[in-house]
């Protein structure tokens, strides 16, 4: 029966059931991923971010919140220019992490 409306999906991130395989795999080779302090420098300087919604800070969070599909879509925008790595105050090897996600 068409009621003209339907159940809207929950916007909650359900931490009990999210799949962290990719993030955990990443963590093994890049312990850096844990040290992000979400300052957003990477996003602000991003060459691709100048034209798109690319944000490494958010991308890391997506992986930690089970939004792997969104993360994979976002990472396609990256030009690997490495500016993010240069500005990261925690010295995270962002370019390596980005490459590792795509391989």
């Amino acid at each position: 029966m068409d009621f003209g409306f339907c159940l809207s999906p929950s916007s909650h991130v359900k931490m009990d059931s999210i799949d962290l395989t990719t993030f955990n795999r990443l963590k093994e080779t890049n312990p850096d991923v844990n040290t992000c302090i979400a300052c957003g420098s990477c996003t602000a300087t991003c060459t691709a971010g100048n034209f798109t919604e690319m944000s490494f800070r958010r991308l890391l969070l997506m992986l930690q919140r089970g939004k792997e599909d969104e993360a994979k879509k976002m990472i396609q925008r990256c030009m690997l220019c490495g500016k993010c790595t240069l500005v990261c105050p925690r010295g995270i090897n962002i370019r390596k992490i980005l490459l590792d996600i795509t391989r």
Binding site: M1, F3, G4, F5, C6, L7, S8, S10
Partner: protein
């Protein structure tokens, strides 16, 4: 769960309710949704408990729906409320009892606002005079009708015929209590038990032999939300709220939901049908739903009122399994007969949720 912790909070959030002589105002929508509830309330309080309840035939809506839907400004809503108070004053009462939670919220909000901004009260006083030539007095006590039942829950328990107990097994029924958001979430001190662990319905359930279910989404709104429900495209949000609650309470296998707000029982009841149609899922046993009743209906049931006199046939979720559990006799043939014995006609049966 540490019950002592709750009891401490309940003790902290108590309020004075006068013993007698109340001015009663009705809810706009309850009379349509659950027509037996207010009648039962008045019958219990007047005839079973011997209290003086006065209804002024000139009272109107409190304006809450329009106010919360942003169709009238606050001053208008306040002036409507001021007129209700004027009626109370004219009738010689000072204890104001409303049937509706939205109204209760509006009255509380108005009184608190006037308390903080006396100039606004003066302005409303002028508006009321200009428009109706009436003068109001602020009620000495403001209570919601469920507060009254709460206050007299033990008196009711004394007259109880069918406690909230499974008649066959002797085990208490598992009851979900759902409080209307505007009962105490805005002003925690105005509700029995406060905002986080309200006691008003819990007190009734415990007094009448039931067992309260405290499930993770207990605090969640039923999803009525005027703006959500009134616009068809937004109704999905409303339904989703209810859905979330049912998903959360399902593992506890509750026998009954008891509510104190006009919207909540309606939505907790009707959405079960919509969810069943859309997802094929029902939350009661054997394809039934979970009955969602008003506190007056529950009070009526335990006191031995005839289920059809209480208007329980107006519920979407079939009430019969609950009646059987509680051992309440009922005549299935009379389900769709009016008070005058005339056939009301039977509703269509939904495909996914059992209605008989």
């Amino acid at each position: 769960m540490i019950i002592e912790g709750k009891q401490k909070i309940w003790a902290d959030y108590q309020k004075d309710i006068p013993d007698d002589h109340y001015f009663y105002v009705r809810s706009c929508i309850r009379q349509a949704f659950f027509p037996g509830s207010e009648v039962t309330f008045l019958d219990i309080t007047r005839n079973k408990l011997g209290k003086d309840f006065y209804e002024n035939p000139y009272h109107t809506t409190c304006g809450g729906i329009a106010y919360h839907s942003d169709t009238i400004p606050q001053e208008t809503a306040m002036t409507i409320i001021a007129r209700q108070f004027a009626l109370m004053k004219e009738s010689g009462y000072e204890n104001y009892v409303c049937s509706c939670i939205t109204s209760f919220g509006c009255y509380t909000e108005t009184l608190e606002t006037w308390h903080e901004y006396p100039e606004l009260e003066a302005k409303i006083r002028q508006y009321l005079w200009d428009s109706c030539k009436k003068e109001f007095a602020k009620p000495k006590y403001l209570a919601h009708a469920s507060d009254i039942i709460y206050k007299f829950r033990f008196e009711i328990a004394k007259q109880m015929k069918f406690p909230l107990v499974n008649a066959k097994t002797g085990k208490p029924l598992k009851v979900v209590e759902h409080i209307g958001c505007h009962y105490s979430k805005m002003f925690p001190s105005k509700g029995f038990g406060g905002a986080e662990y309200p006691h008003v319905l819990v007190g009734m359930i415990e007094a009448w032999g039931g067992e309260v279910v405290d499930y993770p989404e207990r605090r969640q709104c039923c999803g009525f939300g005027f703006r959500q429900y009134f616009v068809q495209a937004n109704r999905g949000y409303s339904e989703s709220n209810t859905h979330k609650k049912f998903e959360s309470m399902e593992p506890y296998e509750p026998d009954l939901i008891i509510t104190n707000c006009p919207g909540c029982p309606y939505f907790l009841d009707r959405w079960q049908y919509v969810i069943a149609e859309q997802t094929g899922k029902t939350y009661g046993k054997n394809g039934y739903g979970i009955p969602a009743l008003t506190y007056e209906e529950v009070a009526g049931l335990v006191m031995g009122y005839d289920p059809w006199d209480l208007g329980l046939q107006m519920h979407q979720v079939a009430i019969e399994p609950l009646l059987e559990k509680m051992g309440i006799p009922y005549d299935p043939k009379k389900k769709y007969q009016g008070l005058n014995g005339k056939d009301l006609g039977q509703p269509m049966c939904p495909s996914c949720i059992k209605s008989v």
